[in-house]
Symmetry: C2
Subunit: 558 residues, 2 copies
């Protein structure tokens, strides 16, 4: 199946609404009537500026990697020039691709990647690594004013080896989630890395964006999974040592993890694996409030438990999920096994409470031990079990929310997500502040909901989803206004600029406010040291104006 150029997933895939009537009546009640959004029929209708590459350079590229791996075809260039953020979908549906890449190259070997990088340096061309292309922060869009090569890693996607003894696997960076797990599972292993984009994203993309998955609270984020990697750079191939731990200077793996293509192209990785769990237990709980749910989550983590999923929806998300029975965040059917009458007697309400999904994985003994410890904490916070059905419903729908976004876009709604992480002591204050900022930017006809999806001993993430009618003719301005208001509230309240979406082009202007002037200058200095010609994914991650700050006067005001 071909990729859906105008949305998420593959052509023909769409979100299954279990109860469309109920869903749309909830949407109309909250957001009013909206007008459908038109879109082009085919990517061939997209009007693209011609490739800025000379025939000579295209020939050089073809000579280096083979002509079949080089495409300057307009439709191909168009779909490789945008990611899958709301802003991207709005534009591609209209056929607006303002900064098209000039060529898409699909190298089949690490050596070919190195050849392309050397050629790019010789000609001053930008190089944009492209894995699954699911960036929602502008990570794969070419920088305006640059001639660009998009380096598609689809042909560097082979699994290479499993080390059964050390529990590691070595794979090429372009391998996608399902192919990776299909390689690992027969040997009894899993990576345990399941971001919402799992089906369409790659190991290299996960590493480049410092990805966290839906089960990372148990298995660890991608930053913990990488034992070693290969990074192609115009100077040659960097290979980091394959050791379990070291005190041998700054950890280069951690310099590269999250570098978003700005320091080189990840071509291969050796990943730490876990045993496939023999037993799991995912359940839903209803808590009296989001505050109670967050407090329970904090205590679960600080007790040293290791839940695979620990997800707490705020009151709005809980209410929406129940009303819609097919919520953007994927859990449905939480009513199963729980009568409203019974809840009412306990002072709980589905409409003003907070749903938690709590899952454990491991041996049966592990799961039962952890479940028992968690149960004590949950009871103290007034949690009521709504059963395994809610847990199963969440598991079933875990990758599907972006398909619902396509449906909502079709109906003329803005629907976007953004996320952060913050220490527990500032958690509820930030949750409220960002929510308010989004409501204020969207106006009255809107829904802003959030959940905790990743918990740590010292804090947790907050993932917002918001919906409103599109401002017709000003869709991008509307998005920009809300994004700015939310991000400024995040940074002002001490949240992470991103917990797992990354920085890309969209967040980088806040990097100096987030990292501080010195931190932003460090990032810029490292980028310049490694990529002095600024050919590696320019315009991403590294804040644009930090160079200018390096005056002696500024240097003395620390």
């Amino acid at each position: 199946m071909r990729s859906k150029w105008w949305g998420w997933g593959r052509e023909g895939e769409s979100y299954h609404l279990p109860d469309p009537e109920r869903f749309w009546s909830y949407v109309r009640a909250r957001l009013g009537k909206t007008e459908p959004t038109e879109r082009l029929e085919s990517p061939s209708e997209i009007k693209l500026s011609p490739s800025g590459l000379s025939d000579g350079v295209v020939s050089e590229l073809s000579a280096a990697v083979g002509a079949q791996s080089v495409s300057t075809d307009a439709a191909t260039r168009a779909v490789f020039s945008l990611g899958k953020g709301y802003k991207d979908l709005i534009r591609i549906r209209r056929g607006e691709v303002p900064n098209p890449t000039d060529v898409v190259v699909t190298p089949g070997t690490e050596e070919h990647v190195l050849e392309v990088l050397k050629l790019a340096r010789r000609h001053g061309l930008a190089v944009i690594p492209f894995g699954g292309g699911t960036s929602v922060v502008g990570g794969v869009e070419p920088a305006a004013g640059r001639t660009s090569i998009t380096l598609d890693l689809a042909d560097l996607s082979r699994p290479l080896a499993i080390d059964q003894h050390s529990a590691t696997a070595t794979v090429q960076a372009g391998i996608m989630g399902p192919d990776l797990e299909r390689f690992l599972n027969p040997s009894g292993f899993t990576l345990g890395h399941f971001p919402q984009s799992f089906v369409y994203s790659t190991v290299g993309g996960w590493i480049a964006t410092r990805s966290a998955g839906q089960n990372s609270t148990h298995y660890g984020t991608i930053a913990e999974h990488v034992q070693s990697l290969h990074l192609a750079h115009p100077d040659g191939l960097l290979t980091t040592p394959s050791v379990p731990a070291a005190a041998a200077g700054p950890d280069l793996v951690q310099v590269i993890t999250g570098s978003e293509g700005t320091l080189g192209v990840i071509t291969q990785a050796t990943l730490r694996l876990s045993r496939l769990p023999e037993y799991d237990d995912f359940r839903g709980y209803l808590l009296p409030s989001f505050a109670a749910g967050v407090e329970a989550a904090r205590e679960i983590m600080q007790a040293g438990l290791s839940p695979s999923v620990l997800r707490v929806s705020d009151e709005t998300e809980t209410e929406s999920a129940l009303a819609m029975r097919a919520p953007p965040t994927g859990f449905a059917g939480v009513l199963e096994g729980a009568g409203r009458w019974y809840l009412g007697r306990r002072g709980l309400s589905l409409e003003s409470g907070s749903v938690m999904i709590l899952g454990f994985e491991g041996t049966e003994a592990d799961v039962k031990h952890e479940r028992a410890a968690a149960k004590k904490i949950l009871s103290r916070h007034g949690a009521f079990s709504i059963g395994k059905g809610a847990g199963r419903a969440w598991q079933r729908g875990r990758y599907e929310a972006p398909l619902l976004r396509d449906t909502l876009l079709d109906h003329g709604l803005i629907v976007e997500t953004l996320e952060t992480a913050v220490p527990w002591d500032r958690y509820l204050a930030l949750h409220a502040a960002v929510r308010e900022a989004i409501y204020e930017a969207l106006g009255e006809r809107s829904v802003v909901m959030a959940h905790l999806s990743h918990s740590y001993r010292d804090g947790g993430s907050i993932y917002y989803t918001f919906l409103a009618p599109q401002e017709k003719g000003a869709e991008l301005e509307q998005w920009e206004r809300v994004k700015t208001a939310a991000t400024e509230a995040i940074v002002r309240n001490g949240g992470a600029l991103s917990h797992h979406h990354g920085i890309g082009a969209d967040h980088r202007r806040w990097m100096p406010a987030y990292l501080g002037d010195q931190g932003a200058r460090w990032l810029s200095a490292i980028k310049t040291a490694i990529d002095p010609d600024d050919i590696l994914n320019p315009g991403k991650l590294v804040p644009p104006s930090t160079e200018a700050r390096r005056s002696p006067a500024a240097a003395d005001d620390g």
Copy 2:
């Protein structure tokens, strides 16, 4: 009590040998007769070249930080110019301090650290951060040919705050281990970081050297504990965001962790805490062989268990420990509760087996759950419990081995430790290869023993201790020969150049072989970008010859 300038710990502290007769007869039997080593009476006898700082610069320093915080006194300069490695002790005992620092500055505020750094940059002076001074890899010795300021962090050692809710503490970097735990324990928290140097080393030193502690298999290494930090740099103060997790570019905390003073001076840190364990269970086991013990350790980790201590001694260390009843690695009394006769019936022998110390901490339920899971694995590998006495003995002696080193040095022995980490599939091969290399370099009269001290899912550490008679008049050459042989065997067999000692001056010449040419160049490029004047702990960590490699020819051979 004053520090012991010629050895470990404080004046008056020495190792208590439970059975000196038995100990020395074992040493004599294995190593023959040795001649005692002389040492100076007082550091005032050390002949030091005069401070290379002009009176003008000393006055500037005094004006910046206060005259009482500036010392050019020879004895002070001498003891701040060496760490606590074997090479350091050999030299300081003789009064040889070839590269003395030129001034010791003890700033009382972060602002004063920044002032000193700016002054150092103006005058081209090297700055060496000095926490507890326990480096065993030459991390605090001034670089030859440089005029140096040693920045003693003893007056930046205050605990600042505990965040009970987020389970974090903020402290100044100069705080030592016991003071930190005394600050945390009353609130029910621990950092859980207990390196052998715990009593005399600092939070800043732990971070700068990427330290691991004896309980890091459970609590995590220092790299996992740092939520955020302050780094003083001549350009100003870098403060990293205080968030539990982020996908916002390369993690600057991980760039600084392990930077060994080469990028700036760590002045403050916010650390992730754990709850003080309410229950623990430390036991000894005897296994038929080191190979069986290592295999059991691997399975324990890959089953997802989280032991606080998992330590496996090889056959030589097991035999030595029992023979000496007061071994350098600190466990004694493993015979308690286990009769030789009984062991023999099971095919086990104290002289040809492998002792494991396995400890769990947490709630009673946690510990019992993990112990039960571990027990199944241990049984499969023929482990025999030698009881809690062995566990307690290890806990009692855990910080004392370096005091025994002083005694052995007095008696004319070379005694040194070195360590690495390696994936499980290469573990036993590396163990044997490095052991052989050390034996070959030391000759017949020697003991080379090792243990696994830190386990991960994908591999484990190996910690070697070796003893031999000193080659009189050529003590440093002897050390250099063994160190070179061992380190080359480590790198050749794919081990980490260091697991937790760090790189310092001693290991840096192997960094290109360990990191690869590209990795070494990256480290060098980052160093140059952040510290273009090379004033921050020069001569440490960053390999000396990587600059020269940056020719265009080399750049194209990737």
